[in-house]
């Protein structure tokens, strides 16, 4: 069996007529949505504590006290949930030479929606990789700085000057994460046909052909790639 170079275990062509490609297994999808749910809770609760104008958001969680304890706990859940995604995805997110070309042609894509000059790609394009690595780094930063300012359980963990750095870093990292998050969500909508990858787990052949041809090619070339009924 050919080595997987551009695809993850579980990626397979589900049906050949029409071509439906299995992009994410159920486990991964659940993993993703837990992470996503946590992210949203964290965004809302984080926002509510970040800016007074958004403090009203604490009502979503039953008030300030609840928001205060909920946020870090959800943060921990998100962290471990994300670790799950990381383990599954990090290999295919390693940079490759075609990423350079892709990035160079990105303005064309964004401004004109012209993808024609893009090289053939594996499972992820450079944009997705930026999201992945950006999230990975920032989530680590968030969990570390978050624990440092977690009054309820770690009040004496770091000295107060360090805590001051930690709150600032935490806020900055959250800011970065939010930008990445916006990019991620938007891209999912922008590139039509993407969302089903995380809902049903599948994409159409055309979607795979258009955006991740090498990935599709590898799946098609695999003996088990056509284990469709």
């Amino acid at each position: 069996m050919a080595r997987r170079k551009f695809s993850a275990p579980g990626d397979e062509i589900e049906t050949r007529h029409p071509v439906i490609v299995n992009r994410y297994r159920g486990f991964t999808r659940v993993n993703h949505w837990i992470t996503a749910a946590c992210m949203i809770v964290l965004l809302l609760s984080g926002f509510s504590l970040f800016h007074p104008d958004l403090f009203f958001l604490t009502k979503l969680f039953g008030g300030g006290q609840n928001t205060r304890w909920l946020h870090p706990i959800v943060g921990v859940v998100l962290f471990f949930s994300f670790v799950g995604l990381f383990v599954q995805m990090w290999r295919l997110n390693l940079p490759r030479k075609e990423d350079v070309e892709w990035t160079a042609n990105l303005p064309e894509l964004v401004l004109k929606g012209d993808e024609s000059k893009m090289p053939e790609l594996g499972k992820y394009n450079a944009g997705q990789k930026v999201v992945f690595w950006g999230m990975s780094v920032m989530i680590v930063v968030l969990i570390v700085s978050g624990v440092m300012i977690w009054e309820q359980f770690f009040p004496k963990l770091v000295p107060i000057p360090v805590r001051r750095i930690a709150v600032a870093v935490h806020a900055f990292a959250a800011f970065a994460v939010i930008l990445i998050f916006i990019m991620h969500v938007y891209a999912a909508f922008w590139a039509r046909g993407t969302i089903s990858a995380m809902t049903r787990g599948t994409v159409t052949g055309g979607w795979a052909f258009k955006h991740h041809r090498k990935w599709l090619r590898e799946l098609a070339g695999r003996s088990d790639g056509g284990s469709a009924k």
Binding site: R16, V110, G205, G206, G225
Partner: protein, 330 residues
């Protein structure tokens, strides 16, 4: 308007015994945590201050005991760890603490036992209030008292981060932040703080800040006459001045007194985090979101075309190993 208790001139004055209405009203608030546009009060209370004359302090802890009694707190009976500080630190149940430092003055070769009553300094520019995310959890009255309104406190500990003096402590029981209130409840009734009332040597005095400064001048003069040429008032301008001030024998080296900050100020990190960063951050996020939305509206979506579906079909058919052109009748 009803007659209110006059503001006390000294804490030693006996309190009035007739029932009185509170002299501190919500309308006297000049700053409120996480709240913009606090309406300007229609009256300005005289700024008050507690003056702690370290050179008169005998470390008797009567202030601590009065503080426990008045605020009805219940600190734990700890063990002796080889020091005179008991409890060993400020706690949610101990708003003030005598801190003891044994200092060998290299200039005089004399041992000095520097005893400082630690507690909230009631900064004119309070770092806790600045850092607090909960609207109304920390307020400052026009007389300068910085008070925690516990029903609004969410226990996040940002005040701990914001305070340049390491004062607030978060309760493990009710997850609210506690510190000295400057006995705002007593002051509201025309009395001085409990600690000042209990202080046997009148090392702690309380009254209008200007008078306290004048009193401090006298004390500093006395200390200078006794050879403490660097005696001075600790009213750090880095936090806009404080409503708890110290007379120090060594005002040039406040940190001798169990680490009293030499030049306290709200950390620039906290200032940024709670200042421009908020707006800039939110704006940037907003812009990003709006940008994405606009792009979504006006930009071209990346649609998969029928042609691409066909090409995919072709690709799959061609590259599938083993059985070429299995057009599979599914």
């Amino acid at each position: 308007m009803t007659d209110r208790a006059p503001q006390p001139l000294t804490a030693a004055a006996n309190p009035p015994v007739q029932p009185l209405e509170s002299n501190l009203l919500p309308s006297d608030v000049v700053r409120v945590s996480a709240t913009k546009d606090v309406p300007k009060p229609d009256r300005q209370l005289t700024e008050v201050a507690k003056l702690i004359d370290v050179s008169k302090c005998i470390g008797c802890k009567a202030c601590q005991s009065a503080c426990i009694e008045w605020n009805d707190t219940h600190p734990t009976v700890e063990e002796n760890v080889g020091v005179y500080e008991n409890p060993h630190d400020l706690t949610p149940d101990m708003f003030t603490l005598m801190r003891f430092t044994e200092y060998e003055n290299p200039e005089t070769n004399e041992l000095e036992w520097l005893i400082r009553k630690d507690g909230c300094m009631h900064c004119e520019d309070p770092g806790c209030l600045k850092a607090c995310p909960a609207p109304g959890a920390i307020v400052q009255y026009s007389n300068g008292i910085v008070d925690f309104i516990h029903e609004n406190c969410i226990g996040c500990g940002y005040c701990v981060t914001g305070c340049p003096f390491d004062i607030p402590r978060i309760s493990k029981t009710d997850h609210k932040s506690y510190k000295c209130t400057l006995c705002s409840d007593r002051v509201a009734m025309g009395q001085g703080p409990a600690c000042a009332k209990a202080c046997p040597t009148q090392c702690i005095t309380f009254g209008p800040k200007e008078e306290m400064k004048k009193h401090a001048e006298e004390r500093i003069e006395d200390l200078k006459s006794r050879g403490f040429e660097h005696a001075g008032l600790y009213d750090p301008q880095g936090v806009g001045g404080t409503h708890v001030m110290y007379v120090l024998h060594h005002a040039d080296k406040p940190s001798l007194y169990a680490g009293l900050p030499d030049e306290p100020a709200i950390s620039p990190l906290v200032r940024e985090w709670k200042g421009p960063a908020k707006t800039v951050g939110l704006a940037a996020i907003g812009l990003a979101a709006v940008g994405a939305a606009l792009h979504g509206l006006f930009g071209r979506a990346l649609e998969v075309t029928e042609h691409e579906e066909e090409e995919a079909q072709e690709l799959v058919d061609e590259t599938t190993p083993g059985a070429p052109a299995d057009k599979g009748d599914a």
